[in-house]
Amino acid sequence: MKVINWILGLLAAAGLAFCGYSFYQYSSFPAESYTRQVETLDKQTGEILENTRQLKEELAARDDAVRSDLRQAGDDGAAAARRLERAQTERDEKRAALDSLTEQIDFMENIYENTLALREDYAKKIRQLEDLIVAGESEAKICYWTLDDGPTYQTQMFLDVAEKYGAFLTFFTSREANLNSRQNDANIEMERDLLRKEAMAGHSIQNHTNSHQYGEYGNLYGRDLNSFREQVELQEKWIYETTGFKPDIFRFPGGSAWAFARIPKDETVAMLKEMGYWWVDWSCNTYDAGPEEQWPDAYSEANYSVTQISSMPIAMILSHDCYMHTLGAIERAIPTLQARGYLFLPLFSQSWTMENTKIIYT
């Protein structure tokens, strides 16, 4: 029994020692060492990740540099750069060409509205220049050379002269005024073409009544105002249907003095205003019309015109595009007046002259 107890005692002592040793191992486990190692490793990992991030940024910057200059990517890159540049340039040129064409198409699809808008701007610009001239702030001069009673067989020659000198004229048209000059073989198509040519050349086309006291209306002012109005409307309709532009300036056949001696001025002017018209006479009469024996020759008519308006910074000349002597006169007068600083412009209703050219210089 003792032996057993001794053996058990030894075993128990060994067990206790082993237990103690195990406890010692447990209690002295180097957890902090592990933690430090993990922290160190994580810190190093963090530094590596940061370096990686910086390197990625550098590489991305380099990629961007290569993208912006492909030649940095060697021969292949240089070839790609050339091809890309060529393709880009060609595409941009084509796109610009298409944009331009689209713009032109849009412009052409609205050409009538665009022309009306430009006409409005043009008239305003002329008015601006007139205001400067009147205020003495511009040395420019303006001549509104007006031609009554056309279109006629001679009109084309007047247009040629105007084109030759870059002059713009104003035509106070009357469809029946030139019956004599066309010798009763009315060529409707020719008149239509001439009227459109006048417009195409940038001249102003205005209203001088349909009859101009000829034919049935031998006495335009001898009837009631409605008959007079009818003659204004007939001419307006023809001009509008032919040119696309409604006239808004009226000149009395024979002049306002002649007209107002026969019809009531206030009522007539009110009627014209209600119809959307300004009326105007002239500041210089060339006296190119009248009995044939009194017609001036081209030289004296030109001289007279030039002399008459020489004191006027803004002048309006009365003549007729149905006389060859007037054609000769205008061909002489235009370059002479241009040399003296006159601009030959089309007359629009926005003009200063609408309010101020009621004095007839004869």
């Binding site: 890159g77 430009l118 220049l129 195409m200």
Partner: protein
């Protein structure tokens, strides 16, 4: 009476001490092993993270073979991207050529229209006149 009891108690106590000692030793060793495994796992995970980070760095580091290859690949990709872009632009140019042809035909038809041609001539004449007036306003 006491002697027989003593005979029994001493071995029983010794056995109990032995059993408790063995139990304690097994328990502490088990806990120690568990702690070791847990901490080794943490350490291994940290090493793996570090290695992964290092591998990632090496993969893009141009000074390494792998990184240099990676850079070359990126350059190739950029060049390829540029070539694709050029091809797309060339394709677009072809499409634009068709559109331009159509637009030219449309514009030509518009200009050939009698009324449009007429108004265009009027417009151009007004433009010429406008230029003269503007020049006069500017004092030229």
């Amino acid at each position: 009476m006491i002697r027989p009891v003593k005979k029994v108690i001493v071995p029983v106590l010794l056995l109990a001490v032995l059993a408790l000692s063995v139990f304690g030793a097994v328990t502490f060793r088990g806990r120690t092993r568990q702690l070791t495994e847990e901490n080794e796992a943490l350490l291994t995970a940290a090493r793996e993270r570090q290695q992964a980070a290092q591998d990632e760095y090496n993969a893009i580091d141009p000074s390494t073979v792998e990184g240099a290859e990676h850079q070359l690949e990126r350059e190739r990709a950029i060049v390829s991207e540029a070539l694709e872009q050029a091809a797309a632009l060339e394709e677009e140019t072809l499409t634009l050529n068709d559109s331009i042809s159509q637009a030219e035909e449309e514009l030509s038809a518009l200009k050939e229209d009698e009324d449009n041609a007429y108004y265009l001539a009027v417009y151009e004449s007004y433009s010429k006149g406008m230029e003269k007036v503007e020049a006069a306003i500017e004092g030229n």
